[in-house]
């Protein structure tokens, strides 16, 4: 790992050409309890440069940018702004200097309008009507269309990100920090964003670009600093690297390669949705419209789509968290069960993994073995006998999941909340996979999980399908979908496109479907069939 340090020894060393650098972070250390989240991190950034900050989850990227943005204070180390030492006491100080940040988890207020959200980040004394005009001008100028009067809750994730960007642009930043901006965008939206970023850079704005998507780093970044376990393990020119070499620097060892040999032709249909429509009670929710989908034994079908287009509602309808209007709208292994509750559906040898692992998928203050009981209580395995919990059996399942999925934890049976995100995700997926269900439905199987854990989970899903089960994966991650899915459908505003074989799908086609290309087609089809 020192090789790459030696390749580029100059720039990290000292205040060379102080006037040229926009921002320099020197020897930053941040300690949380026993954890050294940042360990002697040094980074320099020039005006007009798009600088990538690469690393796995937990590598310390977010900690570093929070320090730069003033929302965390370093334990030791110093920041230099245009060559002068500065103390970023809080985000307001950073903003006054000209640092703007677009957060990964947006710092927006659902119940307020676009204008109000932006006003909150600007100095007081603004007239709302004038601000709305400025928002319109700037957003049109940079190709980021926004309606100032719209309520944030009604906007798509891509539109929400535009608010964050426009909010920064209105402050005329000299440095823009972007934390995984494309994670929530369609490929087309991401392309648009790159154009905006390149334009900003050409105007002299420095951009610190956090990502773990290596292809896009190679595409737009001029320089890259790579973090691992809080330390800088390399500073490289992304144009000179391959995606694989960047990945190896990030992870530190070779990434496990997933075996994707396809099994025999898919068998009988195990999960069928027929004309599934469901109005939502939640004013911020999405209504499902006329969804048809079949998943057969031995195949993985993926539902792609941007968050907030009805994935949660679709999952709830299949798992039984919300009941459908008609029994026949959901068939599990041929049996109509749209009005059955989750436990009855589990008894039909189906298993479900919801999106939120903490709070929804697992009870944070329960031990892992107790969380096992929560989904295994009504079905085989003897976790519950005669109404009493068989703790030994529950411990055995916990041990089996730990072994199969390499769940790393401090003690044998800790409380769920003490596990890291990736390990808990392995646990909640593993807990269902060890049941060998005939039908498995997983919502966002590897959300916020590092590369290694994601590979383990994906491999488990593929193996399960090979053994003859039907697997439905709802995911935002297109790389993941192309890696594991046999067929792909796209959900947009509660409507689902037909599931097409993965080899017939391209990123571009999925992007168009994500933007709603099939909705009109469906509508046309419907009006044609109904006289």
């Amino acid at each position: 790992m020192n090789e790459s340090m030696n390749e580029q020894p100059s720039s990290a060393a000292g205040p060379e050409n102080a006037a040229d650098t926009l921002l320099e972070a020197r020897n930053i250390v941040k300690i949380f309890g026993d954890l050294r989240a940042n360990d002697d991190v040094t980074l320099t950034l020039k005006p007009g440069e798009i600088h990538a900050l690469l690393g796995e989850n937990g590598a310390g990227k977010s900690t570093l940018v929070k320090i730069i943005y003033g929302s965390l204070q370093p334990t030791s180390g110093a920041l230099y702004w245009k060559g002068q030492p500065v103390a970023m006491a809080n985000p307001a100080v950073a903003r006054d200097l000209g640092v703007g940040m677009v957060f990964q988890h947006f710092s927006l207020f659902d119940a307020l309008t676009v204008t109000q959200n932006i006003a909150l980040a600007l100095p007081p004394g603004l007239v709302m009507a004038e601000l709305a005009t400025r928002i319109r001008t700037v957003s049109a100028d940079y190709g980021l269309p926004l309606r100032p009067g719209a309520l944030v809750a009604d906007l798509s994730v891509g539109e929400r990100q535009r608010i964050e960007i426009v909010r920064c642009l209105l402050q005329k930043p000299s440095l823009l920090i972007m934390d995984e901006p494309t994670a929530v965008l369609t490929p087309q939206e991401a392309g648009q964003l790159f154009v905006t970023l390149e334009r900003l850079a050409s105007e002299g704005c420095g951009i610190l670009y956090i990502s773990h998507r290596l292809e896009e780093v190679k595409r737009i970044c001029h320089d890259a600093t790579i973090l691992r376990h809080g330390k800088v393990v390399g500073r490289v020119d992304p144009q000179q690297e391959t995606a694989a070499s960047l990945a190896n620097l990030m992870v530190g060892n070779e990434v496990m390669v997933i075996k994707t040999t396809r099994g025999s032709a898919p068998g009988e249909p195990l999960l069928e949705l027929t004309e599934l429509s469901m109005a939502t009670d939640d004013p911020f929710g999405v209504s499902l419209k006329n969804i048809d989908l079949t998943v057969r034994a031995g195949e993985i079908v993926a539902v792609a789509g941007i968050a907030g287009n009805g994935q949660g509602e679709l999952f709830a309808a299949i798992s039984g968290e919300t009941l459908t209007a008609e029994e026949s709208q959901v068939l599990l292994a041929g049996a109509p069960c749209g009005r059955e509750n989750i436990t009855s559906r589990r008894r039909r040898n189906a298993a479900f993994v919801p999106e939120e692992r903490i709070g929804h998928g697992a009870v944070p203050n329960f031990a892992l073995s107790e969380n096992v009981v929560l989904t295994h209580h009504a079905i085989g395995g003897g976790v519950v006998r005669n109404g009493l919990i068989n703790r030994l059996a529950a411990h055995a399942v916990n041990a089996q999941v730990t072994e199969m999925f390499d769940v790393r934890k401090g003690t044998l049976n800790p409380e769920a909340r003490t596990l890291s995100g990736g390990n808990l995700q392995k646990f909640v997926v593993g807990r269902e996979v060890v049941l060998q269900p005939r039908i498995l439905v997983v919502n966002q199987p590897t959300w916020g999980v590092d590369v290694g854990a994601a590979a383990v989970i994906r491999q488990a899903l593929i193996d399960l399908a090979h053994s003859g089960s039907a697997v439905l994966v709802i995911s935002q991650d297109l790389d993941e979908i192309f890696e594991i899915a046999d067929r792909i459908a796209v959900i947009s505003r509660g409507e689902l496109s037909d599931a097409a074989p993965a080899e017939d799908m391209s990123l571009e086609r999925i992007g168009l479907l994500m933007a709603g290309a099939h909705e009109k087609a469906n509508q046309a089809g419907r009006t044609a069939t109904t006289p």
């Binding site: 927006l108 207020f109 307020l112 006003a119 980040a121």
Partner: protein
Amino acid sequence: MGAFEAVILTIITASTPLLLAAIGELVTERAGVLNLGVEGMMIMGAVCGFAAAYTTGSPIFGVGAGLLGGVGMSLLFAFLTQTLMTSQVATGLALTLLGLGLSGLIGEAFTGLPGVKLGPIDIPFLIDLPFVGSILFGQDILVYFSFALVAIVTYMLFRTRTGLIINAVGGNHHSAHALGYDVVKVRYACIAFGGACSGLAGAYLSLVYTPQWIENMSSGRGWIALALVAFSSWLPRRVLVGAYLFGTVWIMGLYVQALGVAIPAQLLSSLPYLVTITALIMMSGDKTLTKVNTPACIGQPFAPER
């Protein structure tokens, strides 16, 4: 003064303390803080108000003391929940119990003493208008103030930056913190505002409603005010409607009883609750409006990362 005017006047007297306390709690809750201690702050306002007015002979001093009594209690709540991070629900309940007990202790010396009434302020000329004159323009200062408060709070919450910040802090405290707002400071201010309003409501009870000190004289009005806030979807104008609806049905019940109509007294005394809840539920049919105005962070403690 006709019988009709007399009824209207009693309705205003019954509704004003509810309105004052509910508007204060509304602002507190908009900032994301659930203070269940309204009853305790109100009764402390009542005893402080009475004691000060009796001692100095000035009802205006009484109003000021009532306000400060409420603020003092609310700052105790703020210190516990915002600085020491205790549970808001438990602390609020404890605040009510503390207020009821402490006010009894302070008020022991004042029980049975004749009170000092806060007199009406007649607005010249307007008071001579037929019918509405004495009702609208012959009230005491707290009634005028309660109406002004609804207008001021409405304007503040929906038209000013201060209101925007309060709504932001209550809607998503992590985002507000990320933008550089001092969540804890905003919440301290809103809790104190709620305490001041509850204190005024209490002072109204012991200086206008029944100008003397009686132990437990708030008799559950704090809880009604709390319920009004939630049932009104955190909208000041609905709080106004709810408070007056409650006051009206309540007073009408008393008159009906006095007239000897054969309706069980228990039914009559439960009627204000039933009518108000039904009316406010019917008003809150617009789910988007409700959702937009519900402070999403209500009751959640906030600790900034360090």
